[in-house]
Symmetry: C3
Subunit: 136 residues, 3 copies
Amino acid sequence: MAYCEHFDVVTRGQGLYEVTDRVEQLVAESAITNGLCTVFLCHTSASLVIQENADPSAKRDLEKWLNRLVKENDEIFTHTSEGPDDMPSHIKAALTATSISIPVIKSRLTLGTWQGIYLWEHRRSSHRRTIAAAIL
Amino acid sequence: MAYCEHFDVVTRGQGLYEVTDRVEQLVAESAITNGLCTVFLCHTSASLVIQENADPSAKRDLEKWLNRLVKENDEIFTHTSEGPDDMPSHIKAALTATSISIPVIKSRLTLGTWQGIYLWEHRRSSHRRTIAAAIL
Amino acid sequence: MAYCEHFDVVTRGQGLYEVTDRVEQLVAESAITNGLCTVFLCHTSASLVIQENADPSAKRDLEKWLNRLVKENDEIFTHTSEGPDDMPSHIKAALTATSISIPVIKSRLTLGTWQGIYLWEHRRSSHRRTIAAAIL
């Protein structure tokens, strides 16, 4: 039997918000010993990413780099009615991940030592984001 | 029991082709109430992406942006025997997704209001593309 | 019942290392006829990618292109203590995939004719990398 749940994350501007603990808690609740945990983000202007959880400078550099690659107010944009950070957010979401699946072994996510699961908010204003999870 | 199927999409040049209805139909056929739906594209010069389904300008801007980032006839390319749009297609496929997994709750995909599932064709000529799906 | 396993790949510098055979072997061992095979890389400075398995020039061009996009010694980087190739590796991992899920039909991965599964090493020195797999 699959264990399916969702939870919300309130974001306060661009950045990486760690959700590893929330996902591990769902795995514990599922009581599944060996299987697969999938997280899926129900939005098109934010994304999911696995990144280094040790040094905050890695996450800051990642974000600075992507903001330079995907600039606001690009002259080719015509989808501008929702603000200058909206179309860049859709592009960033397409370049990163909307779903991530992690094997579960002995009731634990098989994350490496330095891996954390993050919701990556690409909009500048505050948003309530929903992550759906399925553990099988 | 897993419900596995595949279906074809005929593309007519670069662009995003929505397949949300096809995937939802498979979920209905599977009769699975709570679980996970995975779509996988069996090709290396097209990809899958979740994008905004409301305003067509978002999809056009996304494609224009990626075409500018991954240019044809790049001087570093040596893999050119299959045409100028072939190597850029492989790069675009690597930067986007080949598989997407979406939790199913109460017999419905947990897609957000504005999310659609798209096959993203990166080649200029017409192609028959196969998407494999597994619903568990 | 899920069949979960992991295996190691020793890398010797940047490049794509094919793991298709290893994954197909796990599918055979699982004895699962119809289902889903997920591979997950337990690291943040390497990634997974599905790419063309026929012509090595495609993989070389892909890597050259990404190395030009994500340059070492970028002036915006502050996360530099682990070497000039570390922060570019995290960015490349975010732009490609950490997990890939492939439907299994009639005991076979539904890979297309030209698709291979690769571990993409982004660091220059040798590393032992772990891939976790779940077959359901």
